[in-house]
Structure formats: structure tokens, C-alpha cells
Amino acid sequence: MTKLLEIRSVSVRFGGIHALDDVSLDVGAGEAVGLIGPNGAGKTTLFDCITGVRRPDRGEIRFDGKRIDSLPVHRRSRLGIGRTFQRIELFAGMTTRDHLLVAERERGGDGRLWRDLLGRGAPTPEETRRVDSMITELQLEDFADAQIESLSLGQGRLVELGRALIPEPRLLLLDEPSSGLDSRESAALADVVNDVRRQRDTAVLLVEHDLDLVQAVVDRAYVLDLGRLIASGPLADVFADTAVRKAYLGDGT
């Protein structure tokens, strides 16, 4: 399997605290990988490093073989890295459809201003079709034209997922997608993620506390604790690991 994302010895310090300490991990093309660990382990910090919100103090990050450490957030996104957020980040005042449309448009890159000025800014039939099919896929038909503020948290997370998926990323970073959802909603979310993987061969890196969801989506996982990688491998092995049990349950037996 070719390596899509390679992280080599990445470290991030906040003052005296090692948020990430010499972390290395790989995600192969089309592979689903979990990233688990207790709160404060550095999972979101690692996501921020991958997407470019934060620059690591040391280490390198490669995507599809190319170093992306110094690229700004939007350039990495255009290379094919999509993400959702732990604290939901939606565009206030826009409808569900507009969220997806604005993401769909980004596939066209810069230089849309002239087309707007020439009156060519309206959605093309192709764009409308793609947005509609994503709305169907997420089962958000009833909320397609609703203002985003009127959606529930679970629906909001689905919109975020759709917004990240519509530019057809090769790597999807999901940051605690099930937090705030009930068990029925997380099961639906797992279905959507699995469908997407099957249809488009998108690689997924999943940060999640809900181990049922992790098991439903990923094949193998990395475990972070206090900024350090303490275990990795197939899920069953990882759960059996004593260090992991200690970090999660506080016992070494």
C-alpha cells in the first residue's frame, strides 16, 4: 500500500509542555486509521499540524510524497486534505446547500471574481447535481435550505462531513465526529463514513473516544498519551496493550 500521509518525528511545545513529542505515523492510500488517547493527549494538535493551522517545532509532514510543512491551510486543502472539527465550525447565516456549494466551488480554485462580475456566479447544473447527491447521501433532504443555526448538533456534524467530502479529498481527518451525538446518530455517521470509503477510496484518520465507532470504521490505530505515541497496530492488539490500559484505565494489570 502506498503511503499517503507520513508524519516523521513531529514535536510541538506550548511553553514547557510537550503537546507532541517525537510523533511519527503513517496513513496509507484508502486506509482507515484511528488515533485514540485520553483528553489532552495531543490528538487535535496533531490534526492542526497536518492541516496547517499550527506549524510543528520539529519534524516533517509529507502528503503524497511531498513535504507540506510550510504550506498554508488552504493549499493543503487543495492538495486533498479535508477535515471536520471537534468544536463544530459552520458558517453562520448560510444554508446547508450553501455550505456544500461553497466547498464544491473551491474545486475550481481561485479567480472566480471575474466570473461573478460577468454574471456567471450562479451554480451550474453539474454543481447543483453534485450538491444534491451529497445532501441525499447525508440524508439531509429536509434541511437542505434551512439556515445552519436551526440544525441540531448531529445534523451540523453531518453538514461538516459533507462540506469536507465534497471537494473529494484523498485524506479525511475526523476530529471526534460523534461527540454530542446519541448512539443512533453515531451509528448513522459510521455508515456514511464507511460508504464514502467504499465508493471513493478516501483515506480516513479518525480521532474518537467512542470505541464502538472506532471499531466500526478503522482497521488499525495509534494511541497517543501526553504527546507521545504509546502503541500502534491492529485494534485488538492495541486494546490489549498494557500501556494503553494504563493510560485509559489507570491500571497496569
Partner: protein
């Protein structure tokens, strides 16, 4: 070396005033989240109160008690309770407009009451300004300077003790993070907020009274111009540190005087130094202090999620039938309006109406910038001036038609817009606002003073355009030209709003992080919109110049920029029609109050802007949108989906 000292020592006194103001700014920003642009106006208010008391024969100490010890804090408390308390958790634009309203209203009220520029030779608080008390390194120190230095250092010591050793000081520091969290810990945040406003207003009053004797007469602009220096001092403290703000203020004053000593006297550069130099310092600090960037980037209370979302625009909640009906009515009204102006409306009113439409174009530039992209510019009048002077100078020197000049004006303004926006855009909204404010003051004092640009107060003449056989010399034909340009600008802004760029801007307003995560380039988008907005303002300015046929630097000064922001924000900055309504409101009020009423009512206009700021704080969507909602709520045919509760 001795030169350096003899120039620098007098600068210490100015530096102390900057330090007092800088500390006051930090204090209120920390505890109430409001960047109090009205600070200079408060200093002016105390100086006026002090002057009036002394001139009525009061002893100095009594006048000081009334003007500084009681009066200044009272004004601060009034502003906090009546206005700033309401904006603590509002977006940056609301906070800024609230402060701007006060900045405009306070001096206007005072000048109406006591006459502008009539208060000459202000009394000194303590030591006589005409006595030389000592010589330091060859520099003579007069009483004003000495008393400023002594008082400032004592006050700084007092503040430091307050913050280190008292409970109220500790609470003020905690308020900086989140007043709601402090409230949850059982502290009466209202009381702490009021205390900090009292302290900071006291500092403002003290600075005002101390500084007054160094001016020949009390004029509001002398004090409001101090603002940039105070902002630069506050920026030196990253808006958080009182000691660094203090130090920054003093260094700024000293450096400014040293620089002034080496520049040739009488040149435009040296007379514009006082507002110009702090601007350069401020910009440098904005660019090179990462802590400052973070602080200004972060505008939200951690508990901001508790707030209800802002009111949706009427166009998004009204039903299709209503929309069709209103579109028909608007077309009919616009047609009737144009026909009326072209036929029976009297000459002077044609001029006024044309002017209103020209301002509509300038306001449109703010709708694009502020309403659609959420950025705040406090130098839109400056961009209009750039456009006006570009078109005028091209017509004068190269005989270029104003019609071509309009286009060039737009391009030049847009290019300057890029230069202003590029360094400031990496920062948050407040930083951009302050950078544009400083740029506007720089243009007022230096840029527009040269004969090749605005030619100072004497100004330049600008002809009316001519296109082949069509002559736009008459007001009615010029009105048609303005209508065409306005329609073009409206078309541009509407196309952007409806197209990809509008959606990208909405996304950026919603969450910059998420917008970047789907591939939107925030910096590029912001620069493009800022430049476009500056360009539209430039076109508006050129039209204004050609309408008036003679313009000077004072037609485009920074105070006008501030007024423009307040007016359009109050009327409605989120819709295209809001811009045109703002144009009419501004020009009609101006005309009625300054020409049709006795002169003592002219300051009513500024008072109205102050009141407008308060209304705006209560209805940030704009008065027009608010009224539309009121009407629509009593409409039988509204769209079921329009009900937010449904």
C-alpha cells in the same frame, strides 16, 4: 549627542501624555473589550470643563476636583452604563461603532456649548507654563512639562500598586479573559467594569487638563489626534500590559521629538509628523509583535456561544410573493424618482439628490467591505479623496476627461487599498480598523497637503466631464451620469454577493478556519475585497469632486470616514439598498441641518450620529432592516419558512 538630548527631553512630556492615554486604553480594553476610540474626546471634555470652571473664577483645586476627579469618571460611568455595557459580547464592528459615535458626539456637543476654538490660553493645573524651572542637558523645562512628568509618574506608581495589591485590581485582570466567567465566580462584574471605566476616564481627564496649556486654544482635533499615539502606546503593551504601554508611550513621545528636531521646520513632513510618526510605529508593532497579533485576532469571549445568533436579513426570510411585490414597487419608485428629478424638481434639490447618490456609491463600498466581508475600514473618505484628487489632477495636468479619470481614480484607489490592506490583513478586524484610521490621519496631515495631490486647505478645482456632444455641466445631466455609475456599482456588488465570492465571504465571516480548510484563501479574498471597496470609494470621490467642482483635503478628512462608518452601520450595512438609504440620510440631514436651520443647530448632526451609535448597538442589523421586520411581522402573506421558530 547633546542635540539628541535637547530634542528628546521635551519629548518626555508628550511621552507622558501618550503613556497616560495608552494605559487608559489598555485598562478599558481589558475589562470591557471595547477599544475606546472616544478616549481623546474624554480628555478634551475634561480640559474644557477645567477651563470653564477656572474662567468663572473657581480656584484651581476646585476646578480640578470637578473636571478630573469627579467629572471625568462620571462621564466614563455614563458611557459604560448607557452604551459600552451593552456591547461587551457583540462583534468588533458593534464595539467600534459605539466608540466612534461617542468620539464624534462628545466634541460636537462641547463645541456647540462653548464655541469651537474660542477657549484660548488654557490655564495650567499646577506649575506655570511660562516659567523655566530647570535645564536638563541644555533643554529648558517649563512648568507644564515638569508637572506632566511628575504627575504621570505618580499616577503610574499608583496604578501599579492597585493592580498588585488590591482585590479590585485582581478582578479587573480576570475580567479581561471573560466577564461572564468572572460573574460565574460570584463577582459583580458590572461594578468592576464601572470601576475600571472610572479609573481610565480619570486618566483621560488628567491627560487632557495637563496637556491643555501646550496648545494655544482648546480644540477637539488637538485631542482626538492624540488617539493614534495612544493606540501605538497601547499596542506596545500588546493591549494587555500597563507597564509596557506606559513605557511605549514615553519612548514614542521622546522619539517623535528627536525626529522632529532633525527634520526641516515648516516642511509638510515635519508638520505632519505628530500624527504620522505614531502611525509608522503602530504599523511596525502590528507587524512584528506576534503577541499583539494573537490578541487582536482573538475577539470572542470563551462563552460567546451563549449569545443568540444575529437577526437574519429580511430578504432571506420574506416570502416569494412579498419579494415580487416589493421588487415591483421599488422599480416603480425608482422610475418615478428619476423622472421627477429630470423634470420638475428644483435646481438646488437636483444637486442635493445627486450628492446623496454619490455618497450612496461611497457607502456601497462599505457595504461590500463591512457588510459582506466583515472588515472595518476607517479611511473610506481617504480613498474617496485619492480618487477625487487623481481625477482632478489628471484633468488639470493632462486634460484627461473626468469620465476616463473616474476609471483611473478607481484603479489608483484600489492599488493604494492593496498597499494599506496587505500588512494589516494578517491581523484581526480591530487591527485593520486601527491601521486604516492611522493611514487616514497620515493622508490628512501629509498625503493630501502636497500641491500635486490635494493641495491642502486651498484644494483643487475639478471640471465636469464632457463626452463628445454630451455635456455634463448642468446638474440634471450630471445626475444621469451619477445614476449610471451608481447602477454599475450596484450591479458589481450584487453580482459579487450572489456569486462565488459572496458565498466565500459569508463562509469567511462564519469561520475563517473552516473556510481555509475547504481551500478558500482568506488573505487573498480579503485583499481583493478591500481593493475593490477602495476602488468603488475612489470612483465615488471622483464623482463628488466633479459634482462640487472644487475639493480640498478637508472634504475627505478622517472624521468624515468615521461618520460614514457610523451612518452606514446605523442605517444598514448588510444590504445594497442600505447604502443608498444611508446616502440620502447623510446628505439630506447635512443639508437641512447646516443650511436650512440656524447655525447653532449644526452640531445636532453629530449628536444624531452619537444617538445613531446607540440605536445601532441595540439593532446591529441596521435601522432599515429592523423597520422592515416590524412591518413584515404585521404582514398577512409572509413565508412560513420565514418564521425562525418554525
Amino acid at each position: 549627542m547633546s542635540h539628541l538630548l535637547s530634542y528628546g527631553i521635551p519629548g518626555l512630556a508628550y511621552g507622558c501624555v501618550f503613556a497616560l492615554l495608552g494605559m487608559g486604553l489598555v485598562l478599558t480594553y481589558q475589562t470591557s473589550g471595547v477599544f475606546n476610540l472616544a478616549f481623546g474626546a474624554q480628555a478634551y471634555a475634561s480640559a474644557v470643563a477645567f477651563y470653564v470652571c477656572v474662567s468663572h473664577g473657581w480656584p484651581i483645586w476646585a476646578a480640578f476636583l470637578l473636571a478630573v476627579v469627579f467629572g471625568a469618571p462620571a462621564l466614563g460611568v455614563l458611557m459604560q452604563i448607557g452604551l459600552f455595557r451593552l456591547v461587551r459580547t457583540k462583534p468588533p464592528l458593534v464595539k467600534l461603532v459605539a466608540a466612534l459615535g461617542m468620539l464624534i458626539a462628545i466634541p460636537a456637543v462641547l463645541e456647540a456649548g462653548f464655541g469651537a476654538g474660542q477657549l484660548i490660553n488654557p490655564p495650567s493645573l499646577w506649575l506655570s507654563p511660562s516659567t523655566i524651572y530647570l535645564h536638563v542637558a541644555g533643554a529648558a523645562i517649563n512648568g507644564t512639562e515638569l508637572s506632566i512628568v511628575i504627575v504621570t509618574f505618580s499616577v503610574a506608581l499608583g496604578c501599579s500598586l492597585l493592580f498588585h495589591f488590591t482585590q479590585i485590581g485582581l478582578r479587573m485582570k480576570a475580567m479581561a479573559e471573560s466577564p461572564r466567567m468572572v460573574a460565574l465566580a460570584g463577582v459583580n462584574t458590572e461594578a468592576v467594569g464601572i470601576a475600571s471605566w472610572m479609573l481610565s476616564s480619570f486618566l483621560a481627564g488628567l491627560a487632557g487638563v495637563l496637556l491643555a496649556p501646550s496648545f494655544g486654544g482648546l480644540q477637539a482635533t488637538n485631542f482626538t489626534d492624540l488617539l493614534v499615539a495612544a493606540v501605538a502606546a497601547a499596542a506596545a503593551g500588546s493591549l494587555t500590559s500597563l507597564p509596557y504601554a506606559f513605557l511605549g508611550g514615553i519612548l514614542l513621545g521622546v522619539a517623535e521629538e528627536i525626529l522632529g528636531g532633525y527634520l526641516p521646520s515648516g516642511a509638510i513632513l515635519s508638520s505632519g509628523l505628530r500624527p504620522g510618526f505614531p502611525f509608522v510605529v503602530l504599523l511596525g508593532l502590528l507587524l512584528f509583535l506576534p503577541g499583539l497579533r494573537r490578541r487582536w485576532g482573538k475577539t470572542d469571549d470563551p462563552l460567546a456561544g451563549c449569545d443568540p445568533p444575529p437577526a437574519a436579513l429580511m430578504s432571506t426570510v420574506s416570502g416569494p410573493l412579498f419579494r415580487q411585490a416589493s421588487r415591483g414597487t421599488i422599480l416603480l419608485l425608482v422610475g418615478g424618482f428619476i423622472a421627477s428629478v429630470l423634470t420638475w424638481v428644483s435646481g438646488s434639490w437636483v444637486f442635493t439628490i445627486t450628492q446623496a447618490l454619490v455618497f450612496g456609491i461611497v457607502f456601497l463600498s462599505l457595504v461590500l467591505l463591512t457588510g459582506m466581508s466583515g472588515q472595518i475600514s476607517l479611511c473610506q473618505a481617504t480613498f474617496a479623496g485619492v480618487g477625487a484628487f487623481t481625477a482632478g489632477q489628471l484633468a488639470a495636468h493632462f486634460n484627461l476627461s473626468i469620465l476616463v479619470g473616474l476609471l483611473v481614480a478607481g484603479i489608483v484607489s484600489a492599488a493604494i487599498g492593496v498597499v494599506v490592506a496587505l500588512p494589516a490583513l494578517r491581523l484581526g478586524g480591530l487591527a485593520l480598523a486601527l491601521a486604516t484610521l492611522a493611514f487616514g490621519l497620515l493622508a490628512d496631515n501629509i498625503g493630501f497637503q502636497y500641491s500635486w495631490s490635494g493641495n491642502g486647505q486651498s484644494g483643487i478645482t475639478v471640471p465636469r466631464p464632457q463626452l463628445g456632444p454630451i455635456n455634463f455641466t448642468s446638474d440634471r445631466s450630471y445626475f444621469v451620469l451619477v445614476c449610471i455609475v451608481l447602477a454599475l456599482c450596484v450591479a458589481i456588488v450584487t453580482a459579487i454577493a450572489r456569486g462565488t465570492t459572496g458565498r466565500q465571504l459569508a463562509a469567511l465571516r462564519g469561520s475563517e478556519l473552516a473556510a481555509a480548510s475547504i481551500g478558500i484563501n482568506p488573505a487573498r479574498l480579503k485583499v481583493v475585497v478591500f481593493a475593490l471597496s477602495a476602488g468603488i470609494a475612489g470612483v465615488g470621490g471622483a464623482l463628488y469632486a466633479s459634482l462640487d467642482q472644487s475639493v480640498s483635503a478637508s472634504d475627505f478628512n478622517t472624521l468624515i470616514s468615521l461618520v460614514l462608518v457610523v451612518v452606514v452601520a446605523t442605517i444598514g450595512v448588510y444590504t445594497v439598498e442600505g447604502a443608498i438609504e444611508a446616502g440620502f440620510a447623510y446628505v439630506l440631514l447635512n443639508t437641512v441641518l447646516t443650511t436650512d436651520l440656524p447655525s447653532q443647530y449644526s452640531s445636532l448632526l453629530e449628536l444624531l450620529f452619537g444617538a445613531g451609535a446607540i440605536v445601532y448597538v441595540l439593532h446591529p442589523e441596521g435601522v432599515v432592516e429592523y423597520l422592515k421586520r416590524l412591518v413584515l411581522e404585521h404582514f398577512p402573506w409572509r413565508h412560513p419558512a420565514g418564521d425562525p421558530a418554525a
